[in-house]
Symmetry: C2
Subunit: 360 residues, 2 copies
């Protein structure tokens, strides 16, 4: 059967049966282009391969007919051979924090710029990251990027064993073998302590987010550490339980219900801070920042909204994304390279939710 006959046969419309579940129409393949041009399939392939030995003229010819006939190489067939899928698997845990949609969007865009497409997986309540990974690994992505979540060291090893490096974004698991890109959360906590101390706040509090997350712990660590260095009392730590508005709102009420309430609260992230700020103002009738200073972490776009004007530690998202991509590419190029845990400093953005000294 000639290929044209084959094509015609498969080109026929699906049967008229309403139950027809045919997968649709046949696509244009390299073979079609080859036949159209009277050249070999390999040559067509070469036209689409960078650095392949092929005369510019033939390549040009191939590209034009490909364009005309609507041919695009089949990435599945290709990756079967090249053993590179050109796919990045992204696992997202917490999409309710507005910080992450933006990261996801920009990360995906930048990945796409470097020729990697994104397969998306959600972890979250009832869906552990570890559970999502077998499915992810089926697609042998060239890299797995995990946003705001951790995974077991065993899973990281499993990934590397099948050749998929893992990059954690905004989390780290020391000794796991996973690369990690984080804002310097410890330093961020310290910056806040410094700023608050300078402005003569003396009763400091910290509203925690999800326990056992490196972001939460490190921000608190730096904050406490610096308070001690400055000879201040340890901050009161109020467990929020999660990185949510409600957590912040409830926690600040408990905090201000104490005999000796704080005059400044540092919150584990912006959403908590906004919840705290709203509750302080509207439910407790406090004036912010006059009676209470509130500081967050992340600098999500809401933080700049006039009604919040939240003082916060800005995470250098774009830099972090670039580092993530660089690390991914590095690990891809050198599979047995050591995974690096990298950190970028954040910067305190002074707005109007905290009474701070003017910076000179």
């Amino acid at each position: 059967m000639t290929s044209i006959a084959r094509k015609a046969a498969s080109d026929r419309a699906p049967t008229s049966s309403d139950d027809d579940a045919s997968a649709g129409w046949s696509r244009v393949t390299a073979r079609d282009i080859a036949e159209e041009l009277g050249i070999s399939i390999s040559t067509v392939s070469r036209a689409f391969t960078e650095n392949a030995v092929i005369s510019p003229r033939t390549r040009e010819k191939v590209m034009r007919t490909a364009e005309r006939m609507g041919y695009q190489p089949n990435p599945f067939a290709r990756s079967l051979i090249t053993r590179r899928s050109k796919i990045a698997g992204i696992v997202v845990a917490d999409i309710t924090n507005p910080f992450y949609p933006e990261v996801l969007a920009n990360l995906t865009k930048r990945l796409q710029d470097t020729g990697l497409q994104t397969m998306l997986f959600f972890a979250g309540p009832g869906r552990k990251v570890d559970d999502a990974l077998p499915t992810l690994l089926q697609y042998s992505p060239d890299v797995a990027i995990v946003l705001a979540a951790t995974m077991s060291s065993e899973m990281v090893s499993a990934c590397r064993e099948v050749g998929t490096p893992v990059v954690l974004f905004n989390r780290y698991v020391p000794g796991s073998g996973a690369a990690a890109v984080c804002c310097d959360n410890v330093d961020g906590g310290r910056q806040v302590a410094d700023a608050l101390a300078n402005a003569h706040h003396r009763r400091l509090a910290y509203i925690a987010g999800s326990p056992d997350t490196s972001t939460n712990n490190d921000r608190l660590l730096g904050f406490t550490e610096r308070c001690r260095e400055l000879g201040l009392d340890d901050p009161i730590v109020e467990e929020g339980g999660s990185f949510t508005y409600e957590a912040g709102s409830a926690a600040v009420k408990r905090l201000l219900d104490r005999r000796n309430p704080p005059d400044a609260v540092f919150c584990a992230n912006d959403i908590i801070a906004i919840g705290a700020l709203d509750a302080a103002r509207r439910e407790l009738g406090l004036s912010v920042p006059k009676e209470l200073s509130v500081i967050g972490f992340d600098d999500i776009s809401m933080a700049a909204w006039p009604s919040y004007s939240l003082t916060t530690v800005r995470q250098p998202v774009n830099a972090m994304i670039e580092m993530t991509i660089d690390e991914a590419r590095r690990l891809l190029a050198h599979p047995q390279a050591e995974a690096e845990e990298q950190t970028v400093p954040g910067r305190l953005i002074r707005r109007n939710s905290a009474r701070l000294e003017e910076v000179s």
Copy 2:
């Protein structure tokens, strides 16, 4: 060369050269399982194929060794033959509106429940949906889902021609051949007009979002339509220009700057409404809802925050997601079926940003 030898050869660790760019280690294949068990590759395949003729005992045996050896079928090789990728391509345009991250998350989860993995593409400023589609189509997804964006009819046809049905979420393009799932935006607008009229508001305004979006136009259409039916003046239409906080904030200021300012504004979505509400309260010193009623659309989680307590039309997100999935499956099963444009009614959620009559 025996396959064991082949395997051993490819199993060797990458060379020690630091420049080594090998793609990693070889994975377990069906062949490995077959050899381990002394059966044929076909049988291994059958064990993983639902409704395949295979004895329960063999299947069980295969599954166990697969588990033990860490074998999972390669979806690329599989889809090369089956001509089904088990992939859903999702195109997202506007991730800054908090409505969509949640949709994306839940949609992806539900898709995954039905056995479809998600490939993610971002459109947006400078990246038209139409531009993202060729890449998307390369992966021959079983369905393309477009969130909050439109595409050209030609592109829709191109998709269907290669067997990929398109489902638009929260947009529609009549006559394009794309299926669509929307909240009933016209009806939502009408509900708002009714509620406002009942509460004796007389000077109504609408703050528009992105022009030329069906969501924006239909909400306004229903609102205006119903105002006329009720014998009210046409609402003042203030162009916001986009579905953003800043747009809402700026628009409401212009609106209240008029000689004869409105006593109620209906906003094209919640983010606009929140921007309007903040500006009205904090920049113009108005009391909401006493001096101005503000109503939004979507019911994002922020709308319920105490400081906003936004009255809004709730989109039945989960229902819409189910409909999207159902439509996708239907189109998949019957490739030549007519694409349907479906609509679900929204519901007005009465909170405290609008002065409305009590409902009986």
